[in-house]
Assembly symmetry: C2
Homo-oligomer: 81 residues x 2
């Protein structure tokens, strides 16, 4: 089954990439933009078919496999891709 993992910089972290996109959009005339944050999205296809087991494996990859940095990032697993 296919799962998605959204990894975003924590709110307290200065997101330089997001700030750059924000500034660039504003200078291009998109004045309704008030904030922008840029993170990663990882699509994982597993041979596991059971949803809760697949989610547990993805969490293990994130925490033990080092897919994300808990000090500066937060993650969110999206099922039903």
């Amino acid at each position: 089954m296919k799962l998605g993992v959204k990894i975003m910089p924590r709110e307290v972290i200065l997101d330089t990439q997001g700030r750059a996109v924000e500034a660039s959009m504003k200078s291009n005339g998109f004045n309704t933009l008030s904030q922008c944050r840029v993170g990663k999205f990882i699509e994982l296809t597993l041979t596991t078919t059971e949803a809760s087991q697949a989610k547990a494996e993805v969490e293990k990859m994130l925490k033990e496999g080092g897919l994300y940095n808990p000090l500066i990032e937060r993650y969110e697993i999206q099922t039903g891709e």
Copy 2:
């Protein structure tokens, strides 16, 4: 309102970052992983309150503002962040 934009490399494009993550996870013993693709996730906060208008603005940013490369990427707007 807050909107999310998921930007992934197109299926026909060789995703080197995804392949690297896949190989790394497999060598770490995560054998149930069959495919991995890595893309971007952008969280945009707009002053616009109307959902369909906000979505139109984000689409304009993507297409005219150059937030994504249509040749090698596909995007998906997620509301209800």
